[in-house]
């Protein structure tokens, strides 16, 4: 036992495991409907025939937001709200082939340029705008009127020396985009 104790002390002192000073901290937790801001609740109440509604709170060091995930007309929706319950955007999960052909081909050309091989893992169409315009998405299905539209795409991208997941956010009109690499959560406790 003494041997183990000595080794453990040596082990802990040999490796400087002090955490870095500025950590990015985010936490998503499932919450009850009663914990949601009234405005957000009211918005969701106005959507007819939705199902599988789940609420989440997303916290970071600087902000808190709320997200509702549900199914509406057989599609997966995600609606994000500010801390006060003001709607920020609506995201609708889509299949890659459902995307307008010319838009799809233009985006594919960008992926071909950035990756030696690619595979689209997930596509969400994101709408943002006024509260009234967003509610029309659900009531009369008039998407695109007075709304900003973006495509949020998760792509598996093979480059020369690595394979990574990227999140692209494309503007619908100009197809200008922002790309960010998705960093996986640490998994050493699952591997060793």
């Amino acid at each position: 036992m003494k041997e183990f104790g000595c080794l453990l002390l040596l082990y802990l002192f040999c490796f400087p495991y002090c955490a870095r000073a500025q950590e990015k901290w985010e936490r998503e937790s499932r919450i009850r409907a009663s914990q949601v801001p009234v405005l957000a609740s009211q918005f969701l109440d106005s959507i007819p025939d939705k199902s599988k509604l789940k609420w989440y709170r997303e916290e970071s060091l600087s902000d808190t937001s709320f997200e509702a995930k549900f199914t509406y007309q057989k599609r997966a929706y995600s609606v994000e709200f500010s801390k006060k319950g003001i709607i920020e955007d609506v995201e609708i999960l889509m299949v890659w082939d459902e995307l307008n052909e010319s838009v799809r081909k233009s985006i594919e050309q960008i992926f071909q340029k950035n990756c030696t091989r690619f595979k689209v893992e997930r596509l969400q169409v994101q709408y943002s705008g006024s509260n009234a315009s967003l509610i029309r998405l659900f009531i009369d299905n008039q998407s695109g009127i007075n709304l900003e539209k973006h495509y949020e795409i998760i792509v598996k991208c093979t480059q020369q020396k690595s394979v990574d997941l990227f999140e692209y956010l494309f503007d619908d009109k100009t197809l200008s985009y922002k790309a960010s690499k998705i960093v996986f959560k640490n998994s050493s406790h699952l591997e060793y």
Partner: protein, 230 residues
Amino acid sequence: MSTKFILKLLFGAVILPVATGFAQPEYRVGALPAVNLNIKLKRNWSINSRIESRQQFESGIHGVESIREYDYLLTDVSLQVARKVGLNGRVGGGYLLRFGSGELAHRFIQQYAFVQKKSGYRLAHRVMTDQTISNLEDLELRFRYRLTLEVPFNGEAVDPGEFYFKVSNEFVNSLQTNIYDLENRFVPLIGYETRKKFKIETGLDYRVDGFFNQSTRHSYWYSLNFFFEI
């Protein structure tokens, strides 16, 4: 793969060996404290080192005799170098030194692990081979497969400051002097991730071995793991 299927697979893998194992009810009870350090390097490389001690508090034969006595059994110190392959896989190899109770063993390890992120949980697969030489025993060759399920207590993924449940089942096939044996390890743990890249896990590490040589043994270890990440 549905969650139900995974749970069935995990429990099926455990119940069957336990049921067959009751014929020869030798047992031991103890603790397995471990400290694990993972260091990320450039270009997808990483180093993992681990120190684990095994201490026994009780042993005997179910219903016949039991000996309550503290016994320090061994300590393992290991170092592995690994490289990320593909999107979420890792290939690694390393060396483990085991000592205690007059034994000094050297183990060479090769492993491949990959992690699948699903909605609300993560699944990890690990395939491992190792070769052990020791001053007391003949060469032992092992082939292992482990399936691990991680489920956060809240939300879609484990975030800093949150608890999680981790359960794994591993089949350890071994060959020593032409004698084959199978060991099954079932490990349910509760874990907590702090805000500073540190995790602590505690729970049971249940092992049953000796299926094929008429000496089935059940081991119940209290497991306490510390994970540090740099």
